[in-house]
């Protein structure tokens, strides 16, 4: 195909008219937009919200630590090992609660 014929083809294609939009096209667009899930910007989460979200996990972790401590105390007492409660109170008396500890 020579350049002249190609140019004629492009010129003719350029002259073709596009279909007219239907009368209710704008209304259809609005309907489609309303059907879309609303786009909302991500909300900033406060520290309290984050703690609130984490609370169940933190509570269970605390319960697990306490249960582990009690189990260890009983276990050591049954095995004739050092008593954990006595040991802790001894440490607190000797090191933490004496006036010359500081």
């Amino acid at each position: 195909m020579n350049e002249q014929k190609l140019k004629q083809l492009f010129d003719a294609a350029r002259s073709e008219t596009a279909p007219a939009p239907p009368a209710d096209f704008a209304a259809d667009v609005l309907r489609a937009i309303r059907q879309q899930k609303p786009v909302s910007p991500p909300q900033a989460i406060s520290v309290f919200d984050q703690l609130n979200l984490l609370f169940p996990k933190l509570a269970w972790a605390a319960v697990a630590v306490i249960a582990l401590g009690i189990a260890a105390d009983y276990g050591l007492a049954a095995a004739g090992g050092p008593d954990l409660s006595d040991g802790l109170s001894q440490i607190s008396t000797q090191w933490l609660l004496t006036p010359d500890a500081f």
Partner: protein
């Protein structure tokens, strides 16, 4: 009557109904762009709707200093490009049965002065351009049919000046080959 900027400001403030006015102002241009890439009127309408919905969803990204018309045209071309990519697989065959009598006559007529109607030309180009990649097709359509310059094509496609020039040359050569193949059928 409010200009586009004023209307868009109201739409950003939540006045969705004002978007209908924006659609009415720009729908003819969007239909014209999309019709260059899709002949089926129903599909053109669907693609036009997709274009405006995308514009609405991306309204926050619209640079208010630029004309809305340029921005919506850019979205329309990208919607067309995505559409061409989706359709590419089922459009790889090239054949004559889809061409009308006028188009066939013109293709097989050696007389350079023979008349060619817009519709017949669009049919021939549609068929020949199936041999091009979607990106090549967009570039050649914008350059040769919409009459846009390289700078405008770069702005719409996001490609560099050199890339657009190279693609346009390559697309033109491929299109000529496809048309010659059609003429021999």
């Amino acid at each position: 009557m409010s200009d586009d900027a004023e209307l868009l400001e109201r739409i950003r403030g939540g006045a969705l109904d004002d978007f209908a006015e924006i659609v009415q102002r720009h729908q003819a241009r969007v239909f014209a762009i999309l019709h260059r890439y899709e002949r089926d009127v129903q599909k053109v309408e669907d693609l036009a709707q997709e274009t405006f919905v995308k514009a609405w969803r991306g309204l926050e990204q619209f640079d208010r200093r630029a004309p809305f018309e340029h921005w919506i045209s850019k979205i329309a071309v990208r919607v067309a490009l995505d559409h061409l990519r989706r359709e590419k697989r089922r459009q790889n065959e090239i054949g004559l049965p889809e061409l009308g009598e006028d188009a066939l006559d013109w293709l097989h007529n050696d007389d350079e002065k023979s008349e060619l109607a817009g519709r017949a030309a669009a049919e021939i180009l549609e068929l020949a351009m199936r041999q091009l990649s979607p990106a090549d097709r967009v570039v050649i359509t914008m350059q040769e049919i919409e009459g846009r310059n390289v700078k405008e094509i770069c702005a719409v496609t996001g490609a560099s000046n050199v890339a657009v020039r190279v693609r346009a040359l390559r697309a033109r050569a491929k299109l000529k080959q496809a048309l010659e193949k059609l003429m021999k059928l």
